[in-house]
């Protein structure tokens, strides 16, 4: 074994060790009710998942010898009328206004106010889930896009000449989206007052205003495609969907085939690593290693308190460090895979390989979202039944459903675990398939294509074990 390869192997093992071997098993429940009744220990699922991934890798090498996803034909199946687009835009604006109003005027008890559930459950998790089935529908209901377009239309009707949009800086790429997603995850996972409805409403309003300014300067569509964090976030997941919207026409295509079309402009890899890293931290932060007795977080927080910080600030600083660590860890794992891939052709740089294979991270990001937040949608999503009738939490019953409640028997803890395992395994197999398909194009010889993916396989097994471990600690 060459020294370089040995160091790569050891590096990969070290990174994985950092996240798994030091972490004790935890029994803290998060969004789960009841005990899991599994026929085999949870760690055995990680072994089984690794076997499935290796078998899939071998299968891809033998059966998938030509690129199948790089260029595909799409078939138009439906065209929606222009009027519907306006209706959907108006719906998005009305829903946004309701959420903002409820945040300010409603009760500040998070569970009784519609704002936190809409933002954290429907918007952050529900839209990606729906996007996988329906394609990228978010632009149609995006409130800030609708307002920007309506403003442009109104100015045109009034005969006011709009300034020509500035050219969007190429170097900026998707970096604004990276900052936006990180900021949202920070609020969700770190900020002490994360559930305060009025605070959430203020932040949502500030975000919308920022989007309007960006749209005015760089043009609505250019800004949306690059810098609107949530539009970019949802769009990335839509690349895996068989449904593809071309304007108002719905087309069908093979699943995953949208991902290879993604241009890895600056910030793309950072965005994907941020998406995976923040979700990973969500899992880590619910485990004993982080929050339990003698965990890292209380120890670190105490050190900051000893330095003179308040308890809240110390806690936020501690969790910020954890969040950044997980993003760095995920980035490091992906980078190790790329460094290993260089062994096929040393002329390739890690950066160029990163751009070539970045899209293979999209299904992993989605798998992590499904695995970590499925229970949230399954349980807290039901809360919308009564929150929609009483959005302010003041005793109203607009649709007669205010007395509805959450049915925790809709799916048990064991069922959730199986969904999580399936999501992780399927997501990583999809990632392998995307990387394999791209490798066939990049490397002329099939043998080189397969060998280049050895390291990606190791990365995928690492991500899967990490994901299952994080889920097991918080189960």
């Amino acid at each position: 074994m060459t020294r370089r390869r040995l160091s790569l192997a050891l590096g990969g093992a070290w990174l994985a060790t950092m996240a798994t071997s030091f972490l004790p098993d935890a029994a803290l429940a998060h969004g789960l009710v009841g005990r899991q009744d599994l026929p085999i220990p949870r760690w055995l699922f990680a072994w089984a998942a690794a076997v499935v991934l290796v078998a899939s890798f071998v299968g891809l090498g033998i059966l998938w010898t030509k690129p199948r996803l790089q260029k595909v034909d799409e078939r138009g199946v439906l065209r929606i009328p222009a009027a519907l687009e306006y209706v959907l835009g108006a719906f998005g604006v009305a829903a946004f206004a309701t959420v903002i109003y409820a945040g300010f005027a409603g009760t500040q008890t998070a569970t009784a106010n519609v704002t936190p559930t809409v933002i954290y459950v429907l918007f952050w998790v529900g839209v990606p889930f729906a996007t996988l089935l329906l394609g990228n529908f978010f632009p149609a209901i995006s409130p800030w896009r609708a307002i920007a377009r309506a403003t442009g239309w109104a100015l045109g009707r009034l005969g006011i000449r709009r300034p020509t949009p500035r050219a969007y800086p190429e170097w900026l790429g998707r970096w604004p989206a990276v900052i936006g997603i990180f900021a949202f995850a920070w609020v969700e996972l770190v900020y002490v007052n994360r559930d305060a409805p009025s605070g959430l409403a203020t932040m949502a309003l500030a975000y919308a205003l920022f989007q309007l300014v960006g749209s005015a300067v760089y043009g609505t569509e250019t800004w949306r495609r690059n810098a609107d964090a949530f539009s970019v976030y949802f769009w990335m997941f839509s690349l895996l969907s068989p449904a593809h919207w071309r304007g108002r026409e719905l087309c069908l295509r093979p699943p995953l085939s949208g991902a290879p079309q993604m241009a890895a402009v600056p910030g793309t890899i950072a965005l994907l690593c941020t998406m995976i890293g923040t979700t990973s931290f969500d899992g880590l932060s619910q485990g004993d290693l982080w929050t339990g007795t003698g965990g890292l977080a209380p120890a670190l927080q105490q050190r900051f308190i000893n330095l003179g910080l308040s308890a809240d600030l110390a806690l936020e600083l501690t969790f910020t460090i954890g969040l950044l660590f997980m993003i760095g860890f995920v980035s490091g794992l992906f980078r190790l895979g790329l460094m290993g891939m260089r062994s096929i052709n040393h002329k390739d740089t890690v950066q160029s390989l990163g751009r070539t294979f970045a899209h293979s991270l999209i299904p992993i990001a989605l798998a992590y979202v499904v695995a970590h937040y499925f229970s949230l949608v399954a349980y807290q999503g039901q809360a919308m039944a009564f929150l929609v009738s009483d959005p302010l939490g003041n005793g109203a019953n607009l649709f007669g459903t205010a007395s509805a409640s959450i049915n925790y028997n809709v799916i048990g803890a064991t069922g959730i675990w199986y969904v999580q395992v399936a999501a992780l395994v399927v997501g990583h197999i999809a990632g392998l398939a995307l990387a394999h398909d791209r490798a066939i194009v990049k490397y002329r010889r099939m043998r080189d294509a397969t060998r280049s993916q050895y390291w990606m396989l190791a990365v995928m097994v690492g991500f899967t074990s990490l994901g299952l471990f994080l889920l097991s600690t918080s189960a």
Binding site: P41, A46, W47, A50, L457, L466
Partner: protein, 44 residues
């Protein structure tokens, strides 16, 4: 009371079990990669 680290050995061991598939896969791939390189060198 001082808590001995050994008290959590069971938890640590279970954590290690999640790591093992990664180590096995990495070592197997490194071994396979080395074998292929040797075989290519032999063929010239």
């Amino acid at each position: 009371m001082i808590e001995l680290p050994i008290a959590h050995a069971g938890h640590w061991f279970e954590g290690l079990l999640y790591l093992l598939p990664i180590v096995v896969v990495v070592l197997a791939l490194a071994f396979q990669s080395r074998r292929e390189e040797r075989s290519e060198r032999r063929r010239g």
